[in-house]
Homo-oligomer: 351 residues x 4
């Protein structure tokens, strides 16, 4: 038996591969050290009390939720909370839950209805179409929820108006709205909104709140924002989805530190600004076509020889092709992306 | 909406409630700090390379596996690895997977066949009984695995001879053996065995290796010890069970530090010795009947008034009744249990 | 590739192997012929209207349900109707759903809690024990239902008093009661009760109503008898469990004919009387120990040489051993068991 | 509690709603009557022996399979046979398994990858696209099978060349091909092919063989046509999917009678010819646009007032809209569709 079983991406410097390759921010590490105490298990601790208070303060009176280990866990728990054994969830065909959670959704009984995306986004008419064909049809799964990713998988950011329209379309049909907020922080920072304004205020019912990609050591959360989510099922779902930590305090400490202070905003602003600089630099290179980044993700189309040169040095995901047939490379900036990092990458391509 | 949704046990001092209420050992915290770097995600990092090497060294050539977040994750991943859609897993009716993982097994498609325990243990004849009734019977689930807990949920420790007999019975019938080793460290220390000697050498095929309860911050692992476990399914199972960490390095660093040094043994020895002292002290109190602990768990029967007095100060789980009808209290010691802690508890009861 | 994939039991004459080997009663065949018309699909037909009226008349005002194909379907649909994703169902360790539905329960998300049986029966204290350990325990599956088989798998019949006590124990704890009535007809006939008296009147909430084993061509039903079963979930469950027939009329016609006339009672009485005669005859054979049958199942302990002789001629299931270590053979009589059949079998053993 | 729980479509005459509303053909009823005997249960009977021989004869040496109750059962069993816990199945977004089996696929762990259809058909490039993005990608479900419907849900029939190209594309990528042949008979008859020529010879690996819609009383089958389907899993899957009939003989008798004689072809030819006549008649009505039917399904676009008039008399499913925005009505002919039936319907619209 060999060690080939581990996951390994090509390339050497992983920095721009995703925002999850960066370490934890020093304030997060300090919070974890402070939480290193005897505490009641399974969330009965003071750090988790603080986490609950943070949710109430930052997301609106009555918001509640629970820490989980990772983004897959947050999504799978959240979607189960708004599903039942004969229900379906409407998403885009680029959504992370459809393309990148492997068979976690189907194994959890979540039936996805992927719709063609527009710049990574879902539209109210997509919801209307599925509802028209499926709701009340005994041959069809019954739509009970919609999921949107903010930032989207195509690097775009829904405007508040777009999200409000989607939430209204969902609610009018009796569906709940889930937001995959693995990158909520960069989206909210880009929109100039606080956490409540970027979620609850727009009509979101349940949220996967991501800290891991924004400078966490490893912590996300499921947050319930409205009474469209059935009560009393969240904690059992967390347990049976294998996402209940005995030492919850370490997760709670990270989340409270991230979201009850300006840390989420500082880290996201750093990442977004880095993406802007990176995109500007890439745009100056002959043959590279780059979209103006809306948050911390940069999508750049470039000729094959540049892709090859880039991947000799960097781990970088390919993200389809542009209309001219050029491969698109996805580069993601994080709280830890420095000017020097950007300059180095640009040098490789400009060489 | 209220905050009542969190898990909360009665009592004030949680220390003896379980070994998962203690914080992380300083060497573990140091290892996590050292791992705080840019690294490839999903296990492509150097810390996970070291973890793989540790498995090979400590559990025998060819052992392989992957870090997971918690014990539930380790168990549910492991049992799926030795199950298929029409298979069953033989266990005791006191086993953690049957009594304490809520509906995580059934949701993962794991069909358990609980057998009456003897001091928390399974016996070869239990395996024979299920095999005789079910194997080849088209009306029955087909047994493919056996799971044993070491330390058991009743605080006992299987002897090497007992485990060898169970492994032989399983293997003779074509079944694989899983060990729930959430408390493998205290068991191995109590038996005077190294990690290989306590697992691979006895015939165990797949292991839930626990670090969380032995001074970890939060990390366990699934470890494959033989070729009775199908190859190439472990990593997909980890992903779809929501147990794949993007920042695997933090988990790997804990596990490598715990098991490639003497730390696992030092922590376990401390916990076991504390349990012995606690049991001796309890035995000196009138009305208390205590079993000699085999590892770090103390089961003590005592009159109701003592239980009441104890629970005014301590979180303590009730663990059934003895033959005389007295309630049994379970108290668990950890790497962090000091003499002072023990003295304080004894004072409460002796008062 | 060979034809060995089919199920095949040893022996030549299958008659006494089970009551499902007998063909359909002539009145059932006539009903199927009459139903051979153009009719709306999926239960929108007149024959299914009649079926619904039959349920209301025979099981009490408000009873409703739907035809399904077989007993496995009836059980798996029923138990899903009283389960949710974190619930469990209490049963005996001899119950058909635990021993003989293969992995159908686990694949449908049904978590069984098998309890040691007494003569094939469950007792109120079994319910109390599981409720005490599991209800409200976040580590445990949450009991939501109890299932009992009438006739039991050990050939016994619950008395009305026994069933009432079980139903009360379940209801007091907030659980629903399911009855696996694959053999309800012989049980009700043996008890001298009508269909309502044998089910609804005793407190049963949901019923697997069997016609197949009592002279049907192939039809069973799920019948809801109380408002403890959530409304509006039954029809989706039937569809996603693959138990929705497009040509429901053929199933409905069988069920209505069976249960709105005396046919169920005539067939069951024939089967029960045959079992009594068979048991008397077996009791006269040296070395055979036979229990007085309570319905249409005969359990007879006999020496190995008699078992061998019997199985040279007859398909017969072994059913454990008696306290003296003799193998027990199960023989089941049906509506089609004639005196000649019984005489023939007795001759084989008496030879 | 009311009787509103049953399925009920609007309209009075159900005849053209689907081919599943017609009764059983007299030869099928005769076969069921002949099978009304004591027989071994679960497929150990002579009628099932004959069924196995029929498969071998009609579908090619080595073909094997098992009867099931209905088309949902055949599809869900078949797709499980070519799936594993982390696999996906490629289909069109109009496929019956995606649109009309409710949540049966997700509940059985089948992860569907719906692709935009072209006239109801899948194309080799659809397979290539999913394979390129998902195969070997640890974040994605792993494609293991492709499913096509013949006749398609849009009433079209794949040509042998189209199917061969799809099968080759699937096999080249290591995937198995499933055919949903609920309407295989009309398709094969329309193509002038025998059963082997319409399936095995084209590269199909596993087949849902439909008899119910072609004059059966209620019987379909799962048929394995190649060694790309794992052996020894089919019978357990049938059992745990609740599709194992104790009285299999009644199902086998129908299937053997249907497919070992010319009955399948006679019934399908009748249905196809009726569809041609119906389409011709509809085409003569002002305002109606009708496609030339390729088998027994007629899709006709017509103004709203004609739809209303039609539905006052007939149960008829709406099937989207044509490019001019007119609603499309689906009408299906069967073995029992007479000229008089067609004339009556045309009179209603022409009035």
């Amino acid at each position: 038996m060999q060690h080939s079983r581990r996951f390994r991406l090509p390339g050497t410097d992983p920095h721009f591969a995703s925002d999850n390759i960066s370490g934890a921010h020093p304030e997060i590490m300090a919070a974890v050290m402070e939480a290193n105490l005897d505490t009641p298990a399974y969330g009965g601790d003071q750090f988790t009390d603080d986490f609950h208070e943070m949710l109430d303060t930052q997301f609106g009176t009555g918001a509640y939720g629970f820490p989980v280990f990772n983004g897959t866990g947050a999504n799978i728990v959240s979607l189960q909370a708004v599903s039942h054994p004969y229900s379906s969830v409407i998403c885009t065909d680029t959504s992370h839950v459809y393309t990148s959670e492997a068979s976690a959704p189907v194994r959890a009984g979540i039936s996805l209805k992927p719709q063609p995306h527009l710049d990574g986004k879902l539209r109210p008419e997509d919801i209307a179409k599925v509802v028209a064909s499926d709701l009340g049809n005994p041959q069809a799964t019954q739509p009970t929820a919609v999921t949107v990713s903010q930032v989207t998988e195509m690097g775009t950011v829904y405007t508040p108006e777009e999200l409000t329209a989607i939430c209204n379309a969902a609610h009018d049909a009796g569906l709940a709205i889930h937001m995959d907020g693995a990158r909520l922080a960069p989206a909210a920072a880009a929109l100039g909104l606080d956490l409540h304004g970027a979620t609850t205020a727009l009509g979101v019912d349940i949220l996967s709140l991501g800290a891991t990609k924004n400078g966490g050591l490893g912590a996300d959360a499921v947050v319930v924002l409205s009474n469209r989510v059935p009560e009393d099922t969240l904690t059992p779902i967390i347990k049976y989805t294998t996402q209940l930590s005995s030492k919850t305090s370490y997760l709670s400490a990270q989340l409270t530190t991230m979201f009850s202070t300006s840390l989420w905003h500082r880290n996201a602003t750093t990442a977004n600004a880095a993406a802007t600089r990176l995109a500007q630099g890439l745009g100056d290179i002959a043959g590279v076509e780059v979209q103006t980044p809306q948050a911390n993700t940069v999508l750049a189309a470039m000729p094959d020889n540049l892709v090859t040169r880039l991947r000799e040095h960097y781990v970088a995901h390919l993200w389809g092709h542009n209309t001219a047939g050029l491969p698109i490379v996805r580069l993601v900036c994080s709280w830890a992306t420095t000017d020097a990092k950007i300059t180095d990458l640009l040098k490789v391509l400009a060489a």
